[in-house]
Amino acid sequence: MADVKFIVDGKQLTAPAGTLLIDACKSSGIEIPAFCYYPGLSLQAACRMCVVRIEKMPKLQTACTTPVTEGMVVATETPEIAQARKATLQLLLGNHPLDCPVCDAGGECELQDMTFKYGAADSFYAEPKNHREEQKWSPVVYFDRPRCILCYRCVRMCGEGMDVFALGIQNRGSSSVIAPNIPAELSPDHLAHVDCEQCGMCIDACPVGALTSGTYRYKTRPWEMNHVGTVCTHCGDGCKTTLGVRSTSDGSEIVRGDNRDKSGINGDFLCNKGRYAFDFANNENRITQPLVRQPNGELKPVSWEVALDYVGKELRQRRDARGGKSIGVIGSNRITNEEAYLLQKFARTVLGTNNIDHHRTADYVSFAQALAGQKDRTASLRDTLTAPAILIVGGDPTIQAPGTAWNIRTNVRNNRGRLYVANSAEIKLRRQAKSFLRLAPFGYSAFASYLAGNAASASEAATDINALSTFRDTIKAEEKLLILIGSELRGQDLKALIDFGLTIPGAKFALISDYANSRGAADMGLLPDMLPGYTPLAGNTTFAEYDTPSAPGLDLLEIFEAAGKGELSALYVVGSNPVTRYGIDPESLKDTFVVVQEMFLTETAALADVILPAANLYEKSGSVTNSYGDLQLVKKAGDRAGVRSDFEMIVRIADKMGANMQALVPFGKGTRADMGQSRGAQSGEADRHSVWLTANNLEPKLSPFDPFAILDEIQRLVPGYNLLRLQLLSGNDQHLQPAAPAPLVQVGSRRDLVLPANDSLFTSGTLGRYSTMLSDLQHNESLRPPTGLTQIETAAD
């Protein structure tokens, strides 16, 4: 819309016509207080805190509902306005308890700030306050009714934002109260509860301490924590989160998950896992000492030195005696890019094997190959918020990628984004869809082929053929279509869908996977047949400086098959539980030397000869890549005495094996042959890394334990990872595009190894099993008949 000019507090401002005065002022640095206004939600005008004086208008006006117009003259702070706000505060405080010294919100409470600012601490009310006891609506949502200032933010957040509508407002006047959807009289325990997604967005939006979270309430005060901005370790969305950390006797403990800077790819959002399920890190069952299996079969705690010596010696002997081919490596979906890259480099160059894989939750190899040679065809998570049209084929973002679902709902609500959903189940996002196509069970393959032009697949794709063809025509007519693809589509099907999408000029794609760094694991080459950046082994020149075997290695299942046949001398598992996930017979590993880096005694760890206690993603630094290919910085927040990062463990094992450390981790000066440096970077003998560092104004890293030394190498070598340092280090996200070379292998000729995690809203693989809060939520859920909102399933890995 055209810009209009107006004057606020004597300053000439401009903003697009229709902008709300409160927003227009905010973007010019003029802050107008607001309790009920929440950007992106519907307008409420319930609190009257935002009143301003607008010339030619008879009364004070609410800035949160007044759009700016040409020539408007506004005053935002005058004695008259201050008096009005003070009176509003006095009214609110009439029923507000003096809880600040104990309230969770104390120190970051909007009511407290405003009372301080307008000096409304005196009360003229002699009436007794309306008191009611606090209520526990769920294990994570508590309501302290007397603190509520009836701003309705929570009601709108839950309804409009979450599409859950679990909160309402009941009664009237000063006895009005926020009410959850299960009233006490209908509840078996005669207490009111919420039946909902437990996201905690209501708590986040509450300007005061009326809604508080089960994990954090009464634990600490905001100023007693350190606040570390990092990336959530749960699903593939990779939301930015701020962890509140406090020191304890054995490290530092995470006490709060919060979304306080709201600058991340997730905007305002965090789901229940991001907000509460950090507690696995504090679980008392964590392994904090290296364990080595004794001849009598028992696991005995030993020192790090002893454990690493032992692992190094065993791996070296087995490699030397039976060859790298006899060793298998399984990586993780939840380690950093640097760790994943280092792990595959270690496997390939130190162990001398391509037998490396990870639990794949989406087919990124086919995705990269189908998009080979294309530019600007992949979407960022940010695009889901702004794309004019979105097609979701398969998957269920509400459960698998709640951040994606939040963005899509916001887009539909605020930007009138058009959503199209094709799914074999009635997923919740169909409620926002312009058009929902119910596919036949297992109809994704036929649907992709139908879209690609094969009319014969129609009847297999959907029962309603007319709906199918209308649906296809509608999406084809979209010019800027964002196509979100669920993990159901793999290999040939995925390629067919992408080929169809590529016929739409403005279409962009994203493939949704399940874990924090599933995409990174694939991008970094935790694959038997691909080097990092989906570089095929055969004819590889990019990684020429590696000495890697040229034949593809064994994939995850083949590794265990080899073990069963007695052909696997050693197995190195980093942060993964394949034994349960893939139903591996423990017997098959009896002749294999097994090393596991883990936080907990999982089914896989229980079979190990050596268990090395690992730090999790909240306890280390590095970078991760979300499902979409958005790269973000991970910062160390928590700390646990006794554990080490996977990065450090890999480096130290390599060292104990006698590897050339500077070749593995480029640290220090002169990391490679320095013979030809004087003859320039192209000589082939030059220290390429050092030349590259110089060319990029970077210094050599001094420690082999510095993940950034590997980040340097990733940036230098991995196709597609031409990242912007400043963007990364300042904690911002950046979108990376896979840059796979044109496929040498025919897409789809490979075995389908994708196994979705099947996590529900309240499970999260191994982390979920050790999160008390998620267990409580699962239990809470089991108290009620299923609502269809959530499903309970316990997943491993």
Binding site: F165, L167, G168, R172, A179, L186
Partner: protein, 169 residues
């Protein structure tokens, strides 16, 4: 035939509701009249009423409760056979409304929004019932009684107890 299978309402009321939901531009606008009619028939707004109205109007039960709790004439517990509503708004107050209320409390032995043990009377203090010219006034079910004194109230209560009241339920 009712639009809802196994409706809890009488066939006449069910028919009326079927029609009511069609006459507003927004279906949910029919909620308040439906609540009132349902209360008249069932005696109060029970959980079953909430559930059926929500179904009829495509609302969540929570939405129905939100509206229901706003209006003090709607009740969620059964009232007595005669619901005595005593006005204490300005005109009645000036002409002895509180005296009438206290008298009712005393004679019936119950307070605001309570019901006598035998279930015959319930009592409510209400805002203006539109009978200011003849204040103080009370309303018993849909029946009005004006220009009251405590003595007149005693006569009224006896009349109702003897089953001679007008608006019988």
């Amino acid at each position: 035939m009712s639009e809802i299978a196994n409706t809890i309402f009488s066939p006449e009321l069910a028919d009326r509701f079927d029609k009511l939901v069609t006459i507003y531009p927004l279906k949910r606008s029919a909620l308040v009249p439906m609540l009132l009619y349902a209360q008249d028939e069932v005696g109060y707004v029970s959980d079953a009423v909430v559930a059926e109205l929500a179904e009829r109007l495509d609302l969540l039960e929570l939405d129905v409760r939100n509206v229901l709790s706003y209006y003090s004439m709607l009740r969620t517990k059964p009232a007595g056979r005669y619901n005595v509503q005593v006005c204490t708004n300005i005109s009645c107050m000036l002409r002895g409304g509180y005296e009438i209320l206290d008298h009712c409390k005393h004679t019936l032995g119950i307070g605001h929004k309570e019901t006598t043990k035998d279930g015959v009377f319930s009592l409510e203090e209400v805002e203006c019932i539109g009978a200011c010219c003849w204040a103080p006034a009370i309303q018993v079910n849909y029946d009005f009684h004006e220009n009251l004194t405590p003595a007149k109230v005693d006569v009224l209560f006896k009349m109702y107890r003897d089953g001679k009241g007008k608006d019988e339920k």
